[in-house]
């Protein structure tokens, strides 16, 4: 929902399409340039986060999805969408998103740093971002050699950092889920697919940030206007620029 509002902001046609409608009418996918799989407990996460939705695509839309992947088009998977993408994109196999090490669901704002070597289209020109996370299963987990491979391929897109901008080093709450290597997002080699646990679509406006009242006061006292947009907007702007 909020995901569509965000993409729709700059006169881009956005459609919310139910997975069942795409299955009935796969051409929707062919006509689109950007596929966003949003967050939101698809099928209640009842068989593990994202599993049911990923299977639904695998069983009904695998060809269309792979087609989309192979073309010069963009895909973003946010939170639940990220959990779904890691089950669908071949490059992300051999890794899992498991339960937060703190033992329960976490809804909070965090800082992430963009890997400067990342080729992600979505993250061009960005360095540090302030975004919310809201998940129970957001901890990237994999063998060390798989991780090494991801690092080597520059698939690491975002990593959690502390308030000073240093890597969180697994420390809660900066790394909210105990994710290995402070991983918050992965990109594929082409840079066109981004799978991220934080929610850029909930950080579009500055007043969505949890610290906006303080930042507004700071701006006021130094005589500058409060920014209108938050960091999440930058990610979507990058996607639109790609097709501009």
């Amino acid at each position: 929902m909020e995901c569509s509002r965000k993409l729709g902001i700059n006169n881009i046609e956005v459609k919310i399409v139910h997975i069942n409608d795409i299955i009935d009418n796969p051409s929707e996918l062919k006509l689109s340039n950007i596929l966003a799989i949003p967050g939101g407990f698809s099928y209640g996460d009842d068989t593990g986060a994202g599993n049911a939705f990923a299977l639904r695509i695998k069983n009904n839309l695998l060809d269309e999805f792979q087609n989309f992947l192979s073309q010069d088009k963009l895909i973003i998977g946010i939170c639940n969408g990220c959990q779904i993408l890691v089950k669908l994109v071949p490059e992300f196999s051999n890794l899992a998103l498991t339960s937060n090490d703190i033992g329960n669901y976490q809804c909070r704002w965090i800082r992430v740093r963009v890997n400067p070597q990342s080729s992600s289209v979505w993250l061009r020109g960005l360095s540090e971002l302030y975004l919310p996370v809201a998940h129970g299963e957001g901890r990237f987990f994999m063998d060390q050699d798989i991780l090494n491979q991801l690092i080597e391929n520059n698939s690491v897109a975002l990593r959690y950092v502390d308030k000073n901008g240093d890597y969180a080093n697994l420390q809660f709450p900066y790394n909210p889920n105990g994710s290995i290597y402070d991983l918050a997002a992965l990109s594929d080699k082409s840079g066109r697919v981004l799978a991220l646990m934080p929610h850029p679509e909930r950080g579009i406006f500055f007043t969505q940030q949890d610290n906006w009242p303080l930042e507004k006061e700071k701006c006021k006292r130094s005589g500058v206007a409060m920014p209108k947009y938050g960091d999440g907007m930058l990610i979507f702007e990058n996607a639109l620029k790609y097709f501009a």
Partner: protein, 918 residues
């Protein structure tokens, strides 16, 4: 799961299990028993010894080893659930003989027809039914009796709130609550008291609607299921508002016992122990989590209140706010009515045996007879699909009316919609259980269902939309103008045929009488007996032991000791269960989904829980929804009138402090009472309702919706097998809902800049009676806070102006714990210190001059706001508040400590540790 993947010829038995991982040593049996709820779950323990495998089985009746096998037990206790091909039972409807003695009638009402569960009808009601059927010249069928019992139940008819009481002929609800709204005649009100939720204007294009429910009895028996279905149910109230609104925010308020002193049982044999308070709390929190998070609805506001008298019955308030276009297909969206000939259509989940007698059960206290099947089983996924589908059908104008299936099931929803008449064929209803009797189908409270009135010509299009969204549909009858409620099952065989007028208005009115509540039965300190149960509440003696200086000794103490004592007290106050941080709950609830959250449930760097939130439901508009709560309970021990007044002021000042517009504000009332046939409890209720009228009209804030729950009592046995009754204290939750014109003007509670000035708005009085400080210290004081609505309203109006002018930097409404607790919270949130002087705080007259500093710090006087402003705005601020009581009491400091002149100096870190000590 889509139907396409199910082989429909195979019947599936579904069951789930849970895996609990723990650290440390091997748990004892008692530890394990704390982790499951014998009413809804069973537990089998296996262990290996000498190569043999031993097992023990636990369920509702604590079965000894190996006597009953799991398989046999299962048949008795567990309802098999399968998915296809379900048909009603062959038995059909049974005729019930009512031509019997009064004693027999009472027995039928108490034990149910053939012992099928309580009808909860009074003798007068049973006699009215007997007379009605005598007139018809036949005996009623079971389904007719069940239908009347459900329609006339406390839950659905609110008998106590609506009956004549003392000199008030029209009843408390009409006389105090509805009349207040009528007299205020506010132009923001669009739909009040008539629909599933109340609706007010948001802007030119939208309405916001709000509803708060309680789910107390189900949560006592099955805390997870009870809380979850509570949230799902209140969200369906939103979906069922007008032509169908969309939920945008969930709220909660929980009342738990911290611990239950002594063991309590539901039965005399002492085999059926009540659930431990810790378990109830954990499961209720989890239930709300699953319901809200899985539905994509942000849970943004809530809190928890502890009182050990909630050990038998917790209070679980759950609220939902929704949004709906003001006009849909060129017609006002809040108006709906089935047309003659419209088809009765049920969509969503199927009907099963879960949740039978939930409504009639609300007329009773919890006791050993309470059936566990009254608790419904929730399923957020089905509901999510359902809500999406409803909005699609709504925008195409495919139906004329919609309502939710909650308490009373089809009997209630169809009965309410079909006031002019209807005819139903129950064999058309889709079932999840085999062999259900017609009356069970009719009153089952299985969840995730809506009832709609769909014109026949729209049925194909309607069904198509439901199919796309994987929502099941069944057409079970027709609305008509016959004035009769007719039900058939099997087809062609009439098993219910009564006039709708009798169904809705046949319940004989009882004239209730009250008797003043005597303070003797209220509290005395330092130990509070809870009625005659011998269970003791709060005031743990060990605090006194740790803290050798009581109030009287204070004057004799030298200053350094007094200093230590005050610091110690402040820290202990911050750690009290009702004051300390509830962050661990807030972070488990997704409050960011939908991207609407502006002022959040946790505020500032120090992440302090707020008591008001701001949400921006329409991202293209700068308007926001402001929502807050005010809970009254403790002051009711002295006077429920002031308790209610304070609850109203608390909700309003929380709302106003965050930036809410006082002129665009509506209230919701949720009464949770106890033992409501007791004239003294009724007197308390009358006092509270009277205050609702007095203060709503004085503040000009109309009530738009409300609910009451009258029997929050536990009736059972103590460890000696003696009968006990534990009544939850009379409580009132007031919710405020309104708007802020520009969300950028919203003000958070954290102090922001060193050097900013700290102001108190409003007067502090000698009002420590039933305050958190009194409960902590045992200090003698019977003055509960009182509200002066006239001066408060003036203060709030000026404050609104200050918000518009943008000169308030931070604001917090002092609540439980008083002024100093509010200041500590603001400082912790802002991660900054302060220097203040208590002698600058404006106070009212007091005789207790020896405890003046305690009064200033901890009195819970109402209608005050603690704010900080930039020094350069001092003149403007003081000008604006001319004629209002206010005072500058200090300033924010870079040094991270709270300095109270001559009294306390404490590091911010220590304050934070105390507040966050959960």
């Amino acid at each position: 799961m889509s139907k396409r993947h199910i082989d429909e010829s195979v019947s599936i038995k579904a069951r789930s299990s849970k895996l609990i991982l723990s650290q440390g040593g091997f748990p004892t049996e008692d530890d394990i028993k704390q982790e499951f709820n014998p009413i809804t779950e069973y537990c089998t323990l296996f262990h290996k010894e000498n190569g043999n495998c031993h097992w023990k089985y636990y369920s509702k009746q604590n079965t000894p080893v190996g006597v009953i096998t799991a398989r046999d037990q299962e048949k008795k206790e567990w309802i098999p659930v399968s998915s296809t091909g379900m048909t009603p039972g062959n038995n059909g409807a049974k005729s019930v003989k009512l031509n019997v003695s009064d004693q027999e009638l009472e027995k039928i009402s108490r034990d149910g027809i053939d012992g099928n569960g309580t009808l909860g009808l009074s003798l007068a009601a049973m006699k009215a039914i007997k007379d009605y059927f005598k007139k018809l010249g036949r005996n009623p069928y079971d389904i007719e009796l069940e239908s009347l019992a459900q329609t006339w139940s406390e839950h659905c008819k609110h008998n106590i709130f609506c009956s004549p009481i003392d000199e008030i002929k029209d009843g408390l609800y009409a006389h105090y609550i509805k009349r207040a709204t009528r007299e205020i005649n506010s132009n923001i009100c669009v739909s009040v008291f008539s629909d599933n939720a109340g609706g007010i204007i948001f802007d030119d294009d939208y309405l916001i609607v709000d509803k708060v429910e309680t789910h107390n009895s189900p949560s006592a028996l099955d805390p997870f299921g009870g809380a979850m279905t509570g949230v799902l149910g209140v969200n369906r109230d939103i979906v069922g508002f007008g032509k169908g609104a969309e939920p945008i925010m969930n709220t909660y308020y929980f009342c738990f016992a911290k611990e239950s002193k002594g063991k309590l049982y539901r039965d005399k044999k002492r085999t059926d122990k009540i659930l431990p308070p810790k378990y109830i709390m954990k499961e209720v929190i989890h239930g709300v989590n699953v319901a809200g998070n899985c539905s994509g609805i942000p849970t943004q506001l809530g809190s928890v209140y502890f009182d050990d008298r909630f050990c038998g019955k917790p209070l679980v308030f759950v609220g939902s706010i929704g949004i709906i276009p003001r006009n849909i297909n060129n017609a006002p969206s809040h108006i709906k009515e089935p047309k003659n000939g419209d088809k009765i259509v049920i969509i969503g989940g199927r009907v099963g045996r879960d949740g039978i007698h939930g409504a009639t059960f609300s007329s009773e206290a919890l006791s050993g007879n309470s059936p566990s099947t009254i608790v419904q089983i929730g399923d957020p996924i089905t509901q999510k699909k359902l809500s999406n589908a409803v909005v699609k059908a709504r925008d195409l104008g495919l139906y004329n009316a919609i309502t939710d299936n909650g308490a009373g099931g089809l009997s209630s929803s169809i009965g309410e919609m079909g006031k002019d008449g209807f005819e139903v064929d129950l064999s058309k209803v889709l079932l999840k259980n085999d062999g259900m009797a017609p009356w069970e189908i009719w009153i089952s409270e299985s969840q995730e269902r809506m009832t709609l009135a769909v014109p026949e010509e729209n049925l194909p299009a309607f069904k198509q939309i439901m199919k796309t969204h994987d929502v099941e549909v069944c057409v079970i009858g027709e609305f008509n103008k016959s004035g009769k409620a007719v039900v058939k099952c099997p087809p062609g065989e009439v098993i219910m045929d009564i006039e709708t007028e009798f169904l809705h208005d046949g319940n004989p009115k009882v004239h209730l009488q009250t008797k003043p509540w005597s303070k003797e039965s209220a509290v005395s300190f330092p130990v509070i007996p809870v009625l005659d149960t011998g269970i003791q509440q709060v005031k743990p003696a060990n605090i006194l032991r740790q803290n050798p200086y009581d109030g009287r000794a204070e004057r004799e103490m030298d200053s350094s000791l007094s200093y230590l004592h005050d610091t110690f007290e402040l820290k202990e106050m911050l750690s009290r269960p009702n004051i300390r941080s509830k962050e661990f709950i807030v972070v488990q609830y997704d409050h960011e989904v939908q991207g609407s959250s502006i002022l959040k449930p946790l505020q500032g760097k120090g992440r302090v829980c707020s008591e008001a939130v701001v949400s921006r439901p329409v991202l293209s508009s700068n308007k926001g929804v402001v929502k807050s709560q005010g809970f009254g309970s403790s002051y009711g021990e002295i006077d429920t009138y002031h308790m209610a007044a304070c609850a109203i002021d608390t909700a309003i000042r929380n709302y106003v402090a965050a930036g809410g517009n006082i002129n665009h504000l509506a209230l919701l009332d949720n009464f949770c009472w106890c033992d409501a046939y007791n004239p003294e409890r009724l007197w308390q209720l009358k006092r509270a309702a009277e205050a609702c009228y007095d203060f709503a009209t004085a503040f000009k804030t109309p009530f738009i919706s409300g609910k009451d729950s009258m029997f929050n009592d536990f009736k059972g046995y103590d460890e000696n097998g003696e009968k006990v009754m534990i009544s939850a204290p009379p409580s009132l939750l007031i919710s405020a809902i309104g708007i802020i014109d520009n969300i950028e003007n919203a003000v958070s509670l954290d102090v922001k800049m060193p050097g900013d000035l700290i102001y108190v708005l409003g007067t502090t009085y000698d009002e420590l009676g039933r305050s958190e400080y009194q409960l902590y210290s045992g200090i003698d004081n019977n003055n509960v806070p009182k509200v002066n609505a006239k001066s408060a309203r003036k203060l709030y109006e000026r404050y609104n102006q200050a918000i518009k002018d943008g000169i308030i930097v931070s604001a917090i409404a002092p609540n439980l714990g008083g002024l100093i607790i509010a200041l500590a919270k603001s400082l912790i949130a802002g991660d900054l210190g302060a220097e203040i002087d208590l002698s600058l705080v404006p106070i009212g007259k007091t005789q207790n001059t020896d405890i003046i500093n305690k009064i200033i710090m901890f009195s819970e006087s109402q209608s005050r706001i603690l704010v900080t402003i930039a020094p350069q705005n001092q003149r403007k601020f003081e000008e604006l508040f001319k004629g209002i009581v206010f005072s500058c009491i200090g300033k924010v400091t870079e040094e991270k400590a709270l300095n109270i002149k001559d009294i306390i100096r404490i590091d911010l870190k220590d304050l934070g540790t105390s507040l966050n000590n959960f």
